[in-house]
């Protein structure tokens, strides 16, 4: 495209700017239907127990109560369990509870207060079972089995070298394996290092809660959902409630963020069930505490065995990753796939052997979280690479450069080529913190990291529709959900550039599954790189339809025509003739005008040679560098400089891209330094209260905090774009841990990097030095 109007690549005001700065924007939490009831749920106070009895008599007679739901109210022909590829989470608990927070009973009442008051009248008798609050406890020989009977589930197809199995051992719902190259590669290594890393778990802390308004009657379900994946949700609701998929309508407007959590069923099934029972619309909105009990990131233990040559050449890596999946499988199998696949990092290997296990515990279910297993993998991989470099007496920068895959080189056999110049990115962040400066201040250190993940999803399909109206205004229909990442703005900019139309003249309406084009979901940073390709194709085809129509009217060849701001331009230069679309369209179609409509489609390629059966759409790379100062008296780590960088390929809107990279980096910073969900051995979440659970505030952000958006231009999306939004969470924790070792010679292998852990590591080092 080389139109006169530059729209792509410009930091235009976001499409949702006015409604968001004026408070006029409406979220699902603001939906209010006539006659709407309010739902609240009773959640298990036990981490693991059999339910002996539930008495709801008093609650059912409480003021304002319209329905009380326990498992015996769910019709037996419903398939009242949900999940991704393993359906193990019940709509409400049946015979047992598996974590503190499991839903036992739900009440719909005229007001939320009445529903809450009635819940206090419900009495539950439990028979406690032994609790497995940690992965170690869950894997112990004498651990109780969380799922005595196997839930329904399927293993998806995999390509070369990859495989998976359900329930390979007790309390493991899924195991993903990937192998390439001969294991004999370990035999030729000069050194083999084994290290273990631990990764803590965060709560997504999206400010708009999980919330659904459902209006259902027999055979017909309509929901307004705060959900990233309206179409899979539609399918899941149809399956659970045994209605045709075409009888389910999902409305999705603007989300108050999600960070991965708002996938699959969350509040929807309970809201629909209560609406079916009461024949009234029901709103089910969680509190922040309940959000934390509904979906979390995966804590992890990552064991890496890495073989190298003495010059620092990487040879072989065997890894075992344990993901704390909590009480229900949710998206854990998919996260396991990605954590396992990404653990080698963006380097050349002769042998890779990975096992990633989803370990069930009596804690809140873990699911998709920004980074999707890549954050866990990058933490361990980039930490160990640095440790090995220091053990071999090499500069960690040199070791990375020596092993990194080049632009165009496949990550593993059958995969897509790397679409970023990794050294270019590394050099940028190194320059920003002065990594190569020789002067070293005592207790100061510098560290670097390269975060790595595949982006765009597996076999992901999306359709889009672009409609050019009588006067040239346009509507783009696509089902990428706006959850703050700016996707609706990006889509209008893509269409605007192709149609040479200001984005003020383009709308991107909210999603309604009855009318909106299919999209598998808004995840894996796929908005621009997958759905955006369908949108770009639709825009080009719709434009062509306008030009073909105009050519017929003007009795010329369409190649002589172009479209600019709703005007057909015939010829070029000063003699060009300009024909506004309106009169021409109405001259032919009459006063009501017309719409020129085109559909676009894109699907991530399918290829059995690729381990995940779909060569990755793009590589989402995140470079990081940190400068720290360690106080050896207190263990306090001060991060003086934090620099991260992603490569958007081409930024459709640079302001929006910068915001995504800033936000992801700060999320990673919180995880590195202090943020975590703390469980005790009884399976109790100790810091569930929002007053205690700590997320980064403005004052926590390092004073020298820089994000550098690279636009290397190799992306597969429209105008060379890749996806964005996850890259810069990946390298932060390892860059800081690497900087700490550079500063004071101790290695922190467990997140978050608290002063206590630093002091312990310093004490261990002092003791070891004393001995030698």
């Amino acid at each position: 495209m080389s139109g006169a109007m530059r729209i792509v690549g410009v930091g235009l005001p976001r499409k949702d700017a006015l409604e968001k700065v004026t408070g006029r924007v409406r979220y699902t939490a603001d939906v209010d239907l006539p006659g709407m009831l309010h739902a609240k749920t009773l959640r298990s106070s036990r981490a693991h127990a059999l339910i002996r009895s539930i008495d709801v008599t008093a609650a059912a007679n409480a003021p304002g109560v319209r329905a009380v739901l326990t498992s015996k109210d769910v019709p037996s022909h419903y398939m009242a369990v949900y999940g991704y590829n393993i359906k193990d989470q019940p709509l409400v608990a049946t015979d047992r509870v598996r974590y503190m927070g499991d839903i036992i009973c739900a009440i719909a009442a005229d007001t939320e207060e009445q529903a809450a008051a009635a819940l206090a009248l419900v009495s539950v008798a439990y028979d406690d079972l032994p609790v497995v609050a940690t992965m170690e406890a869950a894997l112990a020989a004498d651990a109780p089995e969380l799922f005595p009977e196997a839930p329904f589930g399927v293993v998806p197809g995999y390509g070369e070298g990859a495989s998976a199995v359900m329930r390979p051992r007790k309390n493991v719902c899924y195991q993903f394996n990937y192998t390439t190259g001969p294991s004999s590669a370990f035999d030729v290594c000069d050194f083999v290092y084994e290290d273990v890393f631990r990764f803590s778990r965060m709560h997504h802390y999206h400010l708009e809660p999980f919330v659904t308004v459902a209006s259902a009657r027999e055979g017909r379900i309509e929901v307004w959902a705060s959900n990233q994946n309206p179409f899979p949700l539609r399918k899941e609701l149809a399956r659970i409630f045994k209605v045709s998929e075409s009888s389910v309508t999902v409305h999705v407007g603007t989300l108050g963020a999600g960070f991965g959590s708002k996938n699959n069923c969350k509040t929807e099934p309970v809201a629909v069930m209560l609406s079916l029972m009461t024949k009234r619309p029901v709103r089910f909105c969680l509190t922040m505490e309940e959000n934390a009990l509904t979906n979390t990131q995966h804590a992890a233990i990552l064991k890496l065995k890495t073989g190298v040559m003495k010059d620092g050449i990487l040879v072989a890596r065997q890894s075992e990753i344990l993901l704390d999946s909590g009480a229900y499988s949710d998206a854990s199998p998919l996260v396991a796939e990605k954590a396992g696949y990404r653990i080698p990092g963006p380097y050349r290997w002769k042998h890779i052997d990975t096992a990633c296990l989803c370990v069930m515990t009596n804690t809140a279910p873990a699911g998709p979280f920004r980074g999707f297993g890549g954050t866990q993998a990058s933490w361990a991989s980039e930490s160990q690479l640095d440790m090995i470099a220091r053990r071999l007496g090499l500069d960690p920068y040199d070791m990375r450069v020596k092993n990194m895959i080049s632009l165009g080189e496949p990550f593993v056999p059958g995969e897509s080529g790397m679409d970023s110049d990794l050294k270019e990115g590394l050099d940028l962040v190194c320059a920003e913190i002065g990594y190569h400066d020789k002067v070293k201040k005592p207790f100061f250190g510098k560290g670097i990291s390269i975060g790595f993940k595949d982006g765009g999803g597996i076999k992901k399909a999306a359709q889009a529709r672009v409609r050019i109206l009588t006067n040239g205004d346009a509507i783009v229909n696509c089902s990428s959900v706006e959850m703050g990442q700016g996707i609706r703005t990006a889509m209008t900019q893509v269409v605007g550039e192709i149609l040479q139309l200001p984005i003020e003249r383009i709308s991107a309406p909210a999603i309604n599954t009855d009318h909106s084009p299919f999209c598998e979901g808004t995840n894996a940073s796929s908005g621009v790189a997958v759905t955006g390709r369908a949108v770009a194709q639709a825009a080009r085809d719709a434009r062509q339809k306008v030009l073909d129509f105009a050519a017929m009217q003007l009795q010329c060849d369409a190649s002589e025509l172009s479209l600019e701001n709703g005007v057909i331009v015939q010829g070029t230069g000063p003699n060009a003739q300009r024909h506004p679309m309106g009169p021409m369209v109405m001259g032919f179609y009459g006063g009501p005008g017309f719409e020129f409509t085109a559909e676009g489609f894109f699907m991530a390629p399918v290829d059995h040679r690729a381990p995940l059966e779909s060569p990755c759409v793009f590589w989402e790379m995140g470079w990081g560098a940190a400068e720290v100062e360690v106080d050896i008296e207190t263990g306090q780590v001060k991060v003086h400089k934090l620099v991260t960088s992603g490569d958007t390929g081409r930024s459709i809107n640079p302001l929006v891209c910068k915001g995504q990279e800033d936000g992801a980096a700060v999320m990673g910073y919180g995880q590195a330094m202090f943020e975590r969900m703390i469980y005790n051995d009884a399976g109790e979440l100790l810091n569930i209260d929002p007053l205690i659970y700590r997320v980064p505030l403005a004052e926590d952000v390092p004073s020298h905090f820089v994000t550098i958006t690279q636009q290397q231009g190799h992306g597969p999306g429209p105008f060379g774009a890749k996806g964005a939004g996850e890259a810069t969470i990946l390298p932060v924790a390892s860059a800081i841990a690497n900087a700490i070792e550079d500063a004071v010679g101790v290695r922190i292998t467990e997140l978050p990097i608290t002063p206590e852990r630093v002091l312990e590591a310093l004490a261990r080092k002092a003791k070891a030095e004393l001995r030698s």
């Binding site: 700017a17 004026t22 408070g23 802390y205 400010l207 703050g484 403005a698 994000t707």
Partner: protein, 165 residues
């Protein structure tokens, strides 16, 4: 509970309301007055999504009773626009993309409005200190700080614009 009558200034206009003693300001604004710009995030006074200004001081409307408004003045995000003209902070938030999901935005803008009324020429550290009362999970704060700094620089050049109070 016996409703009580309260007189207060709502977004510049004198208002009389009847509220029960346990009605929270957040619910009063959102459910009774249909001012939904204040958002409910945590309901615990931690996140700041429900921030409004009472006598030009940021407060968490989820942790404040409606009756406490009696004799006071409250400004919500809906009152910041004058006619159809955006407040310069709103304009700066647009220009700097100082929001993503937008759930914290009403609160952030109001906190900065109060800050600028109290300290017309604040340092960057002062900006950071003020907005640290509120949580934004999306932006990493950089673009919010950039928007605030742009206003501060602009006002230093042109003098303060009309302040809505």
């Amino acid at each position: 509970m016996i409703p009580m009558e309260i007189d207060f200034i709502l977004n510049g206009r004198a208002v009389t309301g009847k509220v029960s003693g346990n009605l929270l300001l957040a619910d009063y604004l959102r459910e009774h007055l249909d001012l939904k710009g204040a958002k409910i995030g945590c309901s615990r006074g931690a996140c700041g999504s429900c921030t409004v200004l009472v006598n030009n001081i940021p407060i968490a409307a989820c942790s404040y009773f409606a009756f406490q408004l009696d004799g006071k003045s409250v400004l919500t995000i809906e009152g910041l626009e004058r006619d159809t003209t955006l407040h310069d902070l709103q304009q700066a938030f647009i220009e700097h993309a100082a929001f993503q999901c937008g759930y914290c935005t009403s609160g952030m803008i109001l906190v900065l409005k109060a800050m600028l009324d109290h300290e017309p020429n604040p340092s960057r550290d002062t900006v950071v200190e003020w907005i640290s009362s509120n949580i934004c999970r999306c932006t990493g704060y950089a673009q919010i700080i950039a928007a605030a700094e742009a206003i501060i620089a602009m006002r230093a050049n042109t003098g303060p614009t009309e302040a809505v109070s």
